[in-house]
């Protein structure tokens, strides 16, 4: 049953078979996507016509590789910018929230904590339409009552940032809180005792302790934002993010350029994950 108990050979073999199948199931679509990015064919299908890098590098009339595909490159750039701002915002606010819920006392704390958790159980689509509605209401209000047109309230770059931030901040809060809970408060008391004020203590002692968690949370926030689809779908306008852009292309028919982008995404995120894992191992 477990490794310290005697197990029958049949049990272990059938278990290994299941695990093998599971991982095959897990990786099959990713592997196929990657492999077909290098097939010398107009479509991402078999048969295999030979290895080519043209879906990355070509700039021919019938075949435009990823590195010359303006639209896709732009959407990657937009996604990176969105992810950058979402990361900055959610790490700042999430860290504040972690301090607030772990170290401060105030009335209705548990109610506010519950509210902070709620984005975890609100479907992303709902979050998207709610924010769309509310910003629209605000925009109408400003226009009719004050006569000013605020571009922030229309679908677009900043609304996407805010929409993604609204739930990514919760994840950051949870990650940072978990680390903060392990923090030995007597270190803070010692620093206070040595004459530091509350902010100096936080800056010099607590934030140093939290740094690995904050870096990890920032990496996760960046990725979550870079790949978000559900919330973004309702808040995006002309400057589309990469997932939305890919979605529109896949819906209209696929070319191996999509495989090329996917390949870069898979390799990039796997590397980032490996680096992240390596550093978090080193921390422990």
């Amino acid at each position: 049953m477990i490794r310290s108990l005697p197990n029958s050979r049949r049990y272990l073999y059938s278990y290994k078979l299941y695990i093998g199948l599971y991982f095959a199931f897990l990786f099959a679509p990713l592997l196929v996507t990657c492999v077909l990015a290098f097939n010398d064919s107009q479509f991402p299908y078999l048969p295999w016509n030979g290895f080519t890098l043209e879906w990355f590098t070509a700039d021919l009339p019938e075949r435009v590789g990823l590195f010359h595909d303006r639209m896709n490159l732009e959407s990657i750039w937009v996604s990176a910018q969105v992810a950058f701002f979402v990361t900055i915002l959610s790490v700042t606010v999430g860290t504040c929230a972690a301090f607030l819920f772990e170290q401060e006392e105030f009335p209705f704390k548990s109610a506010l904590y519950f509210l902070m958790l709620s984005p975890l159980v609100i479907p992303g689509v709902i979050l998207g339409i709610s924010i769309l509605l509310f910003s629209n209401t605000l925009g109408m209000f400003f226009e009719t009552h004050l006569g000013i047109d605020v571009p922030l309230f229309r679908p677009g770059f900043w609304l996407v940032v805010l929409g993604q931030f609204s739930f990514i901040a919760t994840l950051v809060t949870l990650v940072v809180s978990a680390r903060l809970r392990k923090f030995d408060r007597t270190l803070e008391e010692a620093a206070l005792n040595l004459g530091a004020n509350r902010f100096e203590v936080i800056w010099h002692i607590t934030l140093k302790f939290l740094r690995p968690a904050i870096v990890g949370a920032a990496a996760v926030a960046f990725l979550m934002s870079f790949e978000n689809f559900n919330t973004t779908l309702f808040l995006v306008s002309s400057d589309t993010t990469l997932p939305i852009n890919l979605y529109l292309q896949v819906r209209d028919g696929s070319t191996p350029v999509i495989n090329a982008i996917s390949f870069l995404l898979i390799v990039g995120t796997s590397l980032a994950a490996a680096v992240n894992l390596y550093f978090s191992r080193k921390q422990d």
Binding site: M1, I19, F43, P107, I122, I126, F134, F165, N230
Partner: protein
């Protein structure tokens, strides 16, 4: 532990509270209040905006709406159960069966696809399963099929795709909760005469309950709110409820009707999660840890 202090308004408290309140009030509370408000607005015969339940009435009177709703809910619960059945043995294997030196490696393998965008993963399934796809290519080459068949755009494939996208969110909490299960409890049960089934249902499952609940909540919520997978590989005639919402907002531009749908979906998701917590006697704040 510090003793519970009396409440004072201090500078740090204000500095921490302000951004958090701005976030939660402006981006969570008010938008959802607005969602409720919009769902209760409609136009009367003269085109004036009035308060009305007509959006909700439309939902109940139009079978296509509530059938989609029920279908989405039932499928989501089914996907959650299936995800648990698929992920539990994997989590158990990684934590309890495999030699400890392979644990880290398997864990990394398990997590890796989680970092890749859902869109890429669904796209991978599309090129595997479509009529001109990789699996059909091999099956016809080997002579198992005479001609390629379309494996996309049906419910079975959609459920498989949904299970695939959610597996990791079930496996991770299960792994962490099983890691905390002391091996000697299983050994003790075995020593007292229990067989594998008894150990599983009396020891492993009760211990893993918090992980099962938190995994199920996340999977259920993600499945219910999923748009990509049903839209791209699901049946073209049978809609997912999020597609109804999208249609109301983007295609029909009927925001009031869409808000009503959105609010109903929110209520459904909260209800099922609440019921799940009640049935298993867990607390949300404990489950998310």
């Amino acid at each position: 532990m510090t003793m519970k202090r009396r409440f004072h308004i201090t500078l740090p408290l204000i500095c921490f509270l302000t951004p958090v309140l701005l976030w939660l009030v402006l981006l969570i509370v008010l938008p959802h209040v607005d969602l409720l408000r919009m769902s209760l607005r409609a136009e009367d015969d003269y085109g004036n905006a009035i308060w009305s339940f007509s959006n909700y009435m439309a939902f109940f009177q139009e079978p296509i709406y509530w059938l989609t709703f029920v279908r989405t809910a039932v499928y989501s619960i089914m996907v959650t159960v299936m995800t648990f059945i698929v992920a539990m043995p994997v989590a158990f294997y990684i934590t309890k069966v495999v030699a400890p030196r392979f644990q880290g490696f398997l864990m990394m393998l398990l997590l890796m696809p989680f970092w890749v965008s859902e869109l890429v993963r669904v796209y991978g399934w599309m090129i595997l399963l479509r009529e001109s796809g990789v699996i059909n290519h091999f099956l016809t080459r080997m002579g198992i099929l005479n001609q390629p068949i379309e494996m996309l755009y049906n419910d079975v494939t959609m459920v498989m795709g949904l299970v695939y996208t959610s597996m990791l969110f079930m496996a991770v909490p299960l792994v962490s909760v099983l890691e905390s299960l002391d091996d000697s409890l299983i050994e003790a049960a075995c020593d007292l005469g229990a067989n594998m089934g008894t150990i599983f249902f009396r020891i492993v499952i009760p211990h893993a309950m918090p992980g099962i609940v938190s995994g199920s909540i996340v999977v259920f919520m993600l499945t219910l709110g999923n748009y990509l997978t049903p839209n791209m590989i699901g049946g073209k005639n049978a809609l997912w409820f999020t597609e109804q919402i999208y249609n109301q907002f983007i295609a029909s531009f009927n925001w009031n009707q869409g808000s009503a749908f959105g609010f109903l979906l929110l209520v459904l998701s909260s209800l099922v999660i609440w019921a799940g917590l009640k049935l298993t006697r867990q607390k949300l704040s404990r489950v998310v840890q």
